[in-house]
């Protein structure tokens, strides 16, 4: 089943064309990885999937992005879109409030105020993010006091708490140590049963380890999009081969 269908997407930052004629179909309940050198447009494409690029001045879009058949650049409620398409950022960005309030922020935003329900959501979300056992005794403590790896898993829990369908992850482990990274990779693999996950990564081994499909970007274009196995063992394009064998990038 296809979740996102991107057709002929062009994206401009002012006069600079950051994405050129992108065509991609992203399958539900799979992990799709975006790889490519810095500045190739992979994060830009990720951000255009929940319209976070609306926040960037001078950003303009041509083409179509369909989420379950609905054009997300049409006349839609952006807040509702972002509830369905959650996001985890490159640097862990917990809010300066308690761990509990961090996770409860999303549900409260969407109108849940009953204490019993919130308690339940906070616990399930933290459990799903595999961090409940570490944090259950300090839910009322500030989220800024936990380690970077824990903060990132907290941010994943926070994103899960609004019950999204898709999780966008923008290099979620690039600021973390190897142990935290492997914990988060395990978590991502577990989450794919319930969510569609799109992950931008600089780390090709990471793409191999966790993703089902991989798109390789270069200078704003999708050069190749295939199953991860094919991309890494049997690339069809020369640029892809050069990149994955480390000849540039």
């Amino acid at each position: 089943m296809e979740k996102f269908k991107i057709t002929d997407l062009d994206l401009y930052y002012g006069t600079f064309k950051a994405l050129i004629k992108v065509n991609l179909t992203i399958e539900a309940n799979q992990i799709t990885a975006f790889i490519g050198p810095s500045g190739c447009g992979k994060s830009t494409l990720l951000k255009s999937l929940n319209r976070m690029n609306d926040l960037i001045e001078g950003c303009r879009i041509d083409g179509n992005v369909l989420l379950d058949g609905e054009d997300i650049y049409g006349n839609i409620d952006v807040n509702l879109l972002r509830k369905r398409v959650g996001m985890v950022f490159q640097k862990p960005n917990p809010f300066p409030m308690s761990i509990y309030d961090n996770v409860a922020y999303g549900p409260r935003t969407h109108g849940i105020h009953s204490k019993i329900k919130l308690d339940e959501i906070v616990e399930t979300s933290l459990r799903n993010a595999a961090i409940w056992d570490e944090l259950k005794d300090r839910l009322k403590k500030s989220a800024l006091g936990i380690s970077g790896g824990q903060q990132q898993r907290l941010c994943i829990a926070r994103a899960l708490a609004v019950q999204p369908e898709v999780l966008l992850m923008d290099e979620p482990t690039s600021a973390l140590d190897p142990i935290s990274t492997s914990k988060i990779e395990d978590l991502i693999s577990e989450l794919k049963e319930r969510y569609t996950i799109i992950i931008v990564t600089h780390n090709m081994q990471q793409a191999v380890r966790i993703s089902d499909k991989t798109a390789f970007f270069l200078l704003g274009q999708v050069i190749e999009y295939d199953t991860t196995e094919n991309i890494f063992s049997n690339p069809r394009q020369k640029e892809t081969e050069d990149y994955i064998t480390g000849r540039f990038g």
Binding site: M52, R82, N93, R158
Partner: protein, 290 residues
């Protein structure tokens, strides 16, 4: 074999040999003198006021009613509190909301933002006597409020508005964009993001600005003499005249009859101002920690 010569820096000097460069010595002395002088001036002023003022402090200075026997500063102290509350209630919401508009809602770098910012900066550079004259012409005369606490409060709130706007703007700018992104990413709208994430994170900075503004209100004379007048009693209503501590001091020393009492009043005023400054830097320190 390479034949290129290398530039060698002379490393033969002993580590213990101190540089005897005369320029650096002179500079060091100058810097030291400037620091010593600044600290000395501050201590001399405070010391002088304490020396002249403390012996003149007496209980009847704090009587509720002013007369020429007790020269009480109590009405002025109470007026200062009223004036502060009045100006702050007018200026703080206005300043905070306009700063929110400028940083969160207006398009970054738009003409309007630039104009408002230049206006605010110009306003903060205007001498307070000009505010006083404006208040006299507009609030006192044109609006027929007469010399009153209300006219003084409005004049002062115009005066501190740029200060509050600027500090609030800075505090809002200091909130990392990642907080905003995180909030939008969860499907929160602009309003919710600004009021539940951005504003609480900026509160210590805003508070520091407000306390700074209170310091200016407490220390202000020129803008008040022509607007809230110099009556030395607690006013019956906001439309009556009343003098604040600073105006009280100005009146005492310009009359020249109660110089001793003026010094005693100065002690109270200076303690008040130092206290406010300490609170301000304490809260400012709290932001940088978080």
């Amino acid at each position: 074999m390479s034949t290129s010569k290398k530039t060698v820096i002379n490393n033969n000097k002993k580590l213990t040999s101190k540089s005897k460069d005369p320029v650096s010595l002179i500079l060091r002395i100058l810097v030291w003198c400037a620091a010593a002088l600044t600290i000395m001036i501050l201590f001399v002023i405070i010391g002088y006021i304490l020396y002249k003022g403390i012996p003149n402090l007496s209980l009847d200075l704090f009587d509720l009613e002013y007369n020429t026997q007790n020269v009480s500063l109590m009405p002025a102290l109470i007026n200062t509190v009223i004036m502060t509350i009045l100006s702050i209630t007018i200026a703080v919401p206005l300043g905070i909301f306009s700063a929110i508009y400028l940083t969160e809602y207006a398009r970054r770098g738009s003409r309007l933002v630039k104009i408002v910012r230049i206006t605010a900066e110009t306003l903060s550079g205007i001498p307070s006597i000009i505010y006083g004259l404006f208040g006299l012409l507009f609030f006192v005369t044109t609006l027929h409020w007469g010399f009153s606490m209300l006219a003084g409060g409005f004049t002062l709130s115009i005066m501190i508005l740029p200060l509050i706007m600027r500090t609030t703007e800075e505090a809002l700018h200091a909130v990392p964009d990642s907080y905003r992104e995180g909030s939008y990413g969860l499907g929160a709208g602009k309003m919710r993001t600004v009021f539940t994430i951005v504003l609480p994170s900026a509160t210590p900075g805003i508070l520091a600005g407000v306390i700074l503004a209170i310091g200016r209100i407490v220390g202000e004379t020129a803008a008040l003499i022509y607007t809230s007048g110099t009556v030395a009693d607690i006013p019956d209503s906001l439309l009556s005249s009343g003098r604040t501590l600073s105006v009280h001091m100005y009146a005492l020393s310009s009359e020249g009859l109660f110089m001793d009492k003026a010094y005693a009043t100065a002690v109270v005023l200076i303690i008040l101002v130092i206290l406010l400054n300490r609170i301000s830097s304490y809260t400012a320190g709290k932001i940088s920690k978080s």
